[in-house]
């Protein structure tokens, strides 16, 4: 009996890849068990890591790989590990599986379909960091993923990949899964650590950084699911990893594409892909329509004429989680902003007043704007808030919450004008 028979229902999510690295085994809607994982080369990277490399060798390989964190910020993984290694043990590894950013559904594919890939990456990372324990913090709304991970951990323990003296070496490592309970802010790494310690998920002030003082006050590396799943690939390919993708942004990347495309789903590609190509990979805009706007990476908004930028972490790239939400010519940007601002207001943890109140005020003004009742002064106030909220907040939610609003003010001024006059063809003809 497969674990899938014992867990909650998960419908098929479309997945496509021509790289076959992260999604090598994850194309079908099923869970790869340890048997299949091993026969398709699984855990050979761990074996290689333990037999051939010292922890230091692995850190160097990860540094050289230029791997960037896939959780949103794009921070170089090797540098993060190096920073943690500067602090004395015990050290902890925490996998961020909170995945709650609107439009993001990539990590769940790895967790639900190829959980051992993540575990293998974590075990190698644990070895490199000299950690004895790793935690996976998974969002509460992924009950199936939780059970799949627990099951995979038991499978790995039975075969000696986890637990005491892994594969006969003197390296011991354990992984524990912890469920969240519905709070976007718990994806922010310091809020996650608070939550993991059994508290409300309020972000911590930095410094100290988690690499200095994280879980239980000890040096901690927090990495995204996709980041850690890249580790076995780096160990397997070594220098050949630098053949995958463009210089400086090597490695496979997952792109969750949703909204008005023919085939919403998760696409694996290298980071030289442009947003336009990615939309084409997803079958193009639904019904052959035009792109009105794309909400991508930390929910910035992009216009049709910006679609040729690459999906990498360079200053002009899209970066972020790879999230891509497509709006077509029949959608209204202000209407979409209304959804986004209510989300940030709802998810603000409330610790910083500018974030807690500012996101609400933005939402209220946009509501009036959508109804054609806002004034020019109020729109100016939106701009003021877009600068003020990030300037006076302590965490990434406050820093990025107004991104979409400030992008809209800059790039979609015609739409704003039309709403000020009560003339948006989308909103006012539809009558909502």
């Amino acid at each position: 009996m497969s674990i899938r028979d014992k867990i909650p229902h998960i419908p098929e999510i479309h997945v496509e890849s021509n790289l076959n690295l992260l999604l090598r085994r994850a194309k079908e809607n099923r869970t790869v068990d340890i048997e299949e994982y091993e026969t398709t080369g699984g855990y050979s990277a761990l074996r290689k890591a333990l037999n051939k490399f010292s922890p230091e060798d692995i850190v160097v390989l990860v540094e050289e790989s230029t791997l960037r964190g896939r959780g949103g910020a794009g921070f170089p993984t090797g540098r993060k590990w190096r920073f943690a290694l500067m602090n004395p043990p015990p050290r902890y590894l925490v996998c961020n599986a909170d995945e709650s950013e609107p439009g993001t559904f990539k990590d769940r594919i790895i967790i639900e379909r190829d959980p051992h890939l993540l575990l293998e990456g974590m075990i190698i990372a644990g070895y490199a960091l000299g950690a004895k324990e790793g935690y996976i913090y998974i969002r509460g709304e992924y009950p199936a993923g939780y059970l799949i991970l627990e099951n995979a951990i038991n499978e790995a323990k039975e075969r000696g990949y986890l637990g005491k003296n892994i594969l006969g070496t003197d390296f011991s490592f354990d992984i524990k899964v912890y469920r969240g309970a519905g709070a976007y802010i718990c994806g922010e790494e310091t809020a996650l650590l608070e939550s993991l310690e059994g508290k409300r998920g309020h972000p911590r002030l930095r410094p100290p950084y988690p690499a200095q003082s994280g879980l239980y006050g000890k040096p901690t590396v927090v990495n995204n699911v996709e980041t850690l799943s890249n580790i076995p690939i780096i160990i397997t390919y070594e220098a050949y990893f630098m053949n995958i993708g463009p210089a400086g942004f090597y490695g496979p990347k997952l792109f969750p594409v949703s909204g008005k495309v023919e085939k919403p789903g998760v696409y694996e590609a290298t980071m030289d892909i442009t947003l336009r190509e990615l939309i084409e990979m997803a079958g193009g805009v639904k019904g052959g329509k035009q792109v009105k706007a794309v909400f991508a990476g930390a929910l910035g908004i992009y216009r049709e004429d910006e679609l040729d930028m690459p999906m990498d972490y360079s200053p002009k790239g899209f970066g972020g989680t790879g999230t891509t939400i497509v709006l077509d010519e029949d959608d209204c940007v202000i209407d979409a902003l209304l959804v986004v601002t209510q989300f940030f207001h709802h998810e603000s943890c409330g610790k910083c007043t500018p974030c807690r109140v500012g996101t609400y005020e933005q939402h209220q003004i946009l509501k009036k704007l959508k109804e054609g009742k806002a004034t020019k002064e109020e729109v100016n106030y939106l701009k003021h808030l877009s600068q003020n909220i990030p300037a006076n907040s302590i965490c990434g939610l406050g820093f990025s919450a107004p991104n979409a609003v400030s992008d809209a003010l800059k790039k979609f001024s015609e739409e704003i004008e039309a709403h000020l006059k009560g003339e948006c063809p989308v909103c006012f003809n539809r009558g909502d």
Binding site: P11, P102, Y178, Y184, E197, P264, L327
Partner: protein, 161 residues
């Protein structure tokens, strides 16, 4: 103290949790999940029992119940339907799905149906935007775009009556 909500099986799970995690506070969220699974709601008495059992102040547990969206005090129905309202699901017209579900169940957003079977909540992105509009019935996830007719919906809901 005699426990009504912390039943034997839940206590056993809390003990398992205690064996795994070093801090007793780390058992609060797992325990609340177990209470929610079994009793559907986290009533104040259950919080007091948990506080007594773990020797953690009631205020700390209350702080958690009120912070995390999945936990709730309200008396809800047998089945909890969570419909996503975030951007990709908004673009996929979750409103129309909501109307269908409201009509079929007799429940409304934040209000249980009179037969006590259904409760509807609008939630933020549930990481399923590739199957928008997405919704959860208890722990089961569904692809709202596959629901074209009343029968499609009935086929799903009938599993939970």
């Amino acid at each position: 103290m005699k426990y009504k909500y912390l039943t034997e099986d839940i206590i056993q799970k809390i003990e398992e949790c205690r064996g795994r995690f070093p801090l007793k506070e780390q058992c609060i969220i797992p325990a609340l999940h177990h209470i929610l699974d079994k009793h559907r709601d986290i009533v104040p008495e259950a919080v007091i029992e948990l506080s007594d059992y773990l020797k953690v102040p009631v205020s700390h547990i209350e702080g958690i119940v009120t912070f995390y969206d999945m936990f709730r005090h309200r008396k809800n129905a047998k089945n909890h339907i969570r419909i996503c309202r975030n951007l990709p699901c908004h673009l996929a017209n979750f409103h129309s799905l909501l109307e269908k579900i409201k009509e079929k169940t007799g429940a409304d957003v934040g209000r249980s149906s009179s037969d006590g079977l259904w409760y509807i909540e609008l939630v933020e992105c549930i990481g399923s935007c590739g199957i928008a509009p997405a919704f959860l019935v208890n722990d089961d996830l569904y692809d709202g775009s596959k629901i074209k007719t009343e029968e499609d919906l009935e086929k799903i809901l009938s599993k939970y009556r």
